[in-house]
């Protein structure tokens, strides 16, 4: 049976992040937590495939118990099984330690029920690192296709699949063997409205809970959480304020005068002649 796995992260909705105008600090209160948008599209693609191939979708997430809400949302969107990887020792993980915990869990899941495709988001919008997917692929020694914009073909018999992959300059059509790990663009599939049966199921669904010592996966202390993270936050600061230039009010001096004065300053900076020299 076709089995897809999706790695999902809960992130603060950064479109709602505000800065306190008085203190310059981040306002965290009231910022809703959402499923990382790229992961939602990755999940939608996995669910589409499972419906076509008559299979199953397992979702995993590493994080505190509040992440259960996101796993339930995944059930709502059509996932069959949700697993939360949660332990105090997992906390403070950087991308290297995160990829270790996810990879160990995936190994255990794969042993129970072989996984054909692993879906990751292109990146998590809280850190934008895009490192966890490639990290897991390396740990499991799997082929990886990043920036997947569409799935062309999955052939379970030949154990092959074909994808479109987006780069800066072109799209590649790329074929790999199965299992394969994908990191997904939003175009890979639209996030559907939850069908009623899945909605009802999700209300009662309790995600499985795997900790460091509880559950079928094994974890080595040295690799998890802050202890297993090579990177350390050394200091935090606010960006230096740039020096603002002159502001010319065109309503006061007139539009033509304002433009003239602005262009004179470009010229004085030695930029305009250079540009116009090239343009004429």
């Amino acid at each position: 049976m076709f089995h897809a796995l999706v790695a999902i992260k809960q992130v603060p909705d950064t479109t709602n992040i505000r800065i306190d105008p008085d203190t310059g600090n981040l306002v965290r209160e009231g910022v809703p937590a959402i499923m990382n948008p790229y992961d939602a599209h990755a999940l939608a693609a996995a669910v589409e495939l499972k419906r076509k191939l008559n299979g199953k979708v397992t979702v995993i997430s590493m994080g505190p118990s509040s992440f259960n809400a996101t796993l339930r949302e995944a059930i709502e969107l059509g996932a069959d099984r949700g697993i939360l990887l949660s332990d105090r020792k997992f906390a403070g993980a950087d991308t290297l330690a995160t990829s270790y915990v996810l990879a160990q869990a995936i190994k255990a899941i794969h042993e129970e029920e072989p996984v054909h495709m692993l879906f990751f988001g292109k990146q998590a919008i809280d850190g934008d690192t895009a490192q966890v997917g490639p990290g897991v692929a390396v740990r499991l020694d799997l082929p990886i296709v990043t920036y997947v914009s569409s799935i062309r073909e999955v052939d379970l018999e030949r154990q092959k699949a074909v994808f479109d992959r987006r780069t800066e300059r072109w799209s590649e059509i790329i074929e790999t063997s199965l299992p394969v790990l994908l990191t997904c663009e939003k175009e890979i599939a639209p996030v559907p409205f939850a069908p009623l049966p899945d909605l009802i199921r999700s209300l009662r669904y309790e995600p499985e809970f795997w900790s460091k010592s509880d559950g079928p996966a094994t974890f080595d202390d040295a690799y998890v959480g802050s202890k297993g993270s090579p990177t350390i936050v050394y200091k935090m600061g606010t960006p230096p304020l740039p020096e603002a230039g002159e502001k010319i009010n065109s309503r006061e001096v007139g539009v033509d005068a304002a433009v003239k004065s602005a262009l004179q300053q470009v010229e004085a900076a030695g930029v305009l002649a250079e540009i116009l020299g090239g343009a004429v």
Binding site: D128, A130, Y223, I232, K235, P242, A269
Partner: protein, 360 residues
């Protein structure tokens, strides 16, 4: 034993600062040269410390490809002392597996102290894989890099600064215990170094870690993307429009000014989200980082996420009818006014200036 290069056991007396030289089809991504410039600056910061300890410090490039030796010579001109060249048909097109395994193999052999990779699509695909294979720390999208003294470390460490929370906070990350200290950097965050056509260096050839049958992936075809020929990253002049344009037609005006100045069109994210213009034009945190000679922002409020992508431009003109718009904070000169009046006036003035130049 935890794998990876524990520093105590691996400190050699040659300190290697590595840069990944990114090329596709023989075309080098200029971010590679920008990073060689950064590596040279980092090396200068540890020079005296190294001399005291009797150590040598070098900048080295890592180059993979099929028949790309000529690129190694360019790398010397932009600041590399030495290039590790893995030249093999398996690298004809970029694929994750042969690339990361071969780079990890060379890194294990020579034990670099610092390793910088461009945060391009290719570089992002690669960097996380290499860091995991080497079991070391990687800091993504750095905007500041410096070798600094850190209590408890014998040598200066790489202080990698990156924006967090949409640019509101700068976090400085270190990697104390493992080597190499890896960072990815987006194109155009750092300036292009001078090219010295007389510079030469040493090429060291290495073999690939993977043969074709184990490459794990096969590229069947390439399709050109819409907007692929828009190169705003390396443009000298950008005229960018924001939601203040009011509707997609507003870009015609922006385009006219851009053409008059021999430049290209940029945009803020809402314009892309609204479908007014292709995503290839987007400037900012989730778009491109640019540093043109002249950046004109019209009808852009200047949200942090936009500013981080353009604040390194040589000269910035902001046009906005709200005198309190934050874009004015980064502008060298701001015009408070309606862009639909200001841009036409600018077009007239520039055409006049050009004519005057032509008659000189």
């Amino acid at each position: 034993m935890v794998p990876g290069m524990n520093i105590e056991s691996n400190e050699t007396n040659v300190r290697r600062f590595w840069v990944f030289i990114e090329q596709e089809g023989g075309e080098v991504h200029p971010v590679s040269w920008e990073l060689l410039g950064v590596a040279r600056a980092l090396v200068a910061q540890v020079q005296s410390e190294a001399e005291e300890n009797g150590e040598e410090v070098v900048v080295e490039g890592v180059l993979l490809g099929d028949d790309v030796e000529h690129i190694a010579k360019l790398a010397f001109q932009y600041g590399a002392d030495r290039v590790y060249l893995v030249d093999d048909p398996v690298f004809k097109n970029y694929r994750n597996c042969p690339y990361y395994k071969s780079i990890a193999q060379v890194a294990e052999k020579y034990q670099p102290e610092v390793f910088l990779i461009g945060a391009t699509t290719l570089g992002r695909d690669l960097a996380g894989a290499v860091a995991t294979a080497l079991h070391t720390g990687l800091t993504a999208d750095c905007t500041g890099l410096e070798m600094g003294e850190v209590k408890g470390s014998r040598r200066r460490l790489l202080l990698a600064t990156r924006p967090a929370f949409g640019g509101n906070i700068l976090a400085t990350i270190i990697c104390r215990k493992y080597r190499p200290q890896m960072s990815s950097v987006r194109p155009r965050v750092f300036p292009m170094p001078e090219c010295n056509p007389d510079a030469a260096g040493e090429i060291i050839r290495e073999s690939p870690a993977v043969q074709e049958e184990n490459a794990l992936a096969c590229i069947l075809d390439f399709i050109r993307e819409k907007g692929a020929d828009v190169d705003i990253e390396y443009a000298d002049v950008i005229v960018a429009g924001g939601r203040g344009l009011g509707n997609p037609d507003g870009f015609a005006l922006v385009q006219e000014l851009a053409e008059e100045l021999g430049g290209v069109v940029g945009a803020s994210r809402p314009c892309v989200d609204l479908g007014w213009i292709d995503a290839a034009h987007q400037v900012g945190q989730t778009g491109k980082t640019v540093r043109p000679k002249l950046y004109i922002a019209a009808g852009i409020s200047g949200a942090l996420q936009h500013k981080v992508g353009m604040q390194n431009s040589d000269f910035i003109i902001a046009i906005n009818n709200d005198a309190n718009a934050p874009i004015f904070d980064v502008a060298d000169v701001g015009i408070v006014g309606d862009l639909f009046e200001v841009i036409p006036a600018m077009l007239t003035a520039i055409r006049g200036r050009k004519e005057a130049l032509a008659n000189e």
